[in-house]
Amino acid sequence: MFDSFLALLKRDLLLALRRRSDIFTVLFFFIIVVSIFPLGISFEKAVLQKIAPGVVWVAALLASTLALERIFANDYADGTLEQMLLTPQPLSVLVFAKTLAHWLLTGLPLVLIAPLAGLQYHLSASTIGTLMLVLLIGTPILSMIGAIGAALTLGLRGGGILVSLLVLPLYIPVLVYGSGAIEAAMQGDVSLQPYYLLLLAFLLLALVFTPLATAASLRISVE
């Protein structure tokens, strides 16, 4: 079982390395969205600091939904997904491998590029640290919830737009506490621990339940 998990994870990473452009589109989308807000709102330092948490998170949410369609679409189109359904391995384990690969390729780069956004918005070093940490905990949740939406909309016309419609409302808790933590970090005198604990709790719940829901959705969609 673990062998299959690793093999699938390695395969997805290898495929992404052979088509590198896919990784960068998501990353640049994030950077562009983050950079475009000041143009539309204001260049004032105080205003930028005020909107930074929300802007970074909304950009991360949008970038994540943008990338979702690709999780299963290729495997569905070339028949690999069928073969995955027909293995003795539990489907949820394979789904988890794919989601993890997807996060490594689309979520992790956002975490790593986040300091750049922090500089654009005049955030302090410690706030940038918090920003990276909450993105690190939060973006896997986005990938995992999003995978359910991607599985449900598999192969549909206009699936990309539809999937945002389905999953964006479900992202709200991560958005609220993710940006809340950054705001609290900027105030300085508030304890951040409750935010981290809540986000970690969401992460654990997502780890346990979303692979099962995604697997069930895939079975329905492949039929």
């Binding site: 016309r157 609220v176 609290a184």
Partner: protein
């Protein structure tokens, strides 16, 4: 006497049954809503705390807001039944419920905006209850959108059922996060219900109207489900016989 519930899980036997139930629910709905509104308009004080006559929108507003939430649960219940027993009728009920639920949610937001404008001087406020209601509307829309995007009925039924279940599982977390965006200050998460302070006459009128809304929703859902049955079963013999009779 044991009733064979599964008998009514087949569209051909449910269709006439629903046809018989609709007038009953509709009559009850009209009687209850008219009675409740009469009570609410003429047998209650003219002011509610500091609000004048305009508070009476409460009868429609609260009833529709409650219906919006309950119908979501009803919808998920039908969807789960469908997934467990693989009965087509349950899925049809779920999708009929979704549309009525979405309309109720929109109605509560709409009446809420009017009420807000007169009492607070604003059409919209990001107060937790209103925000939750808005998110609920988004969840309904997601469900309906997914269902209408999938052409194959079987897949659309089952896929939207899974979506509804996932939605219901996450709803408590969403409500929590909206009610308590700052976990450092959530000692008193439990909002005090404003119902206790309300005069009993107003409360009675409100509950009667709500009961009327329930009946109305039953009736409308059954009407809608009859349409869905006809659409999906249009190729079957019993539907053809139905046409011949007319």
């Amino acid at each position: 006497m044991a009733i064979n519930w599964f008998k009514y899980s087949s569209p051909s036997s449910f269709y006439p049954l629903a046809g018989k139930m609709i007038p009953v629910f509709m009559t009850l709905a009209i009687v209850l809503i008219m009675g409740g509104l009469y009570w609410g308009f003429f047998e209650t004080p003219d002011v509610l705390s500091d609000q004048k006559q305009y508070y009476r929108i409460i009868y429609v507003h609260v009833a529709s807001a409650w219906m919006a939430m309950w119908l979501y649960v009803v919808m998920v219940a039908w969807a789960v039944l469908g997934l467990i027993f693989n009965t087509r009728m349950s899925y049809m009920m779920a999708s009929a419920t979704a549309i009525t639920g979405a309309i109720m949610t929109a109605l509560s937001l709409w009446t809420g905006a009017f009420w807000g404008q007169t009492s607070w001087g604003t059409w919209w406020d990001w107060d937790p209850r209103m925000t939750s209601q808005l998110i609920l509307l988004f969840l309904y829309i997601g469900y309906i959108a997914l269902q209408s995007a999938i052409e194959d009925n079987r897949r659309s039924d089952r896929a939207s059922a899974v979506l509804a279940m996932v939605g219901l599982a996450i709803v408590p977390v969403i409500y929590y996060s909206i009610n308590c965006p700052d976990p450092n200050e959530c000692a008193s998460l439990h909002q005090e219900s404003s119902l206790k302070r309300v005069e009993s006459n107003i409360l009675i009128a409100m509950l009667v109207v709500t009961a009327g809304f329930w009946m109305y929703c039953f009736a409308v859902i059954l009407m809608r489900v009859r349409n869905i049955i006809l659409q999906r079963e249009s190729h079957t013999q019993w539907v053809e016989r139905l046409e011949v009779k007319k």
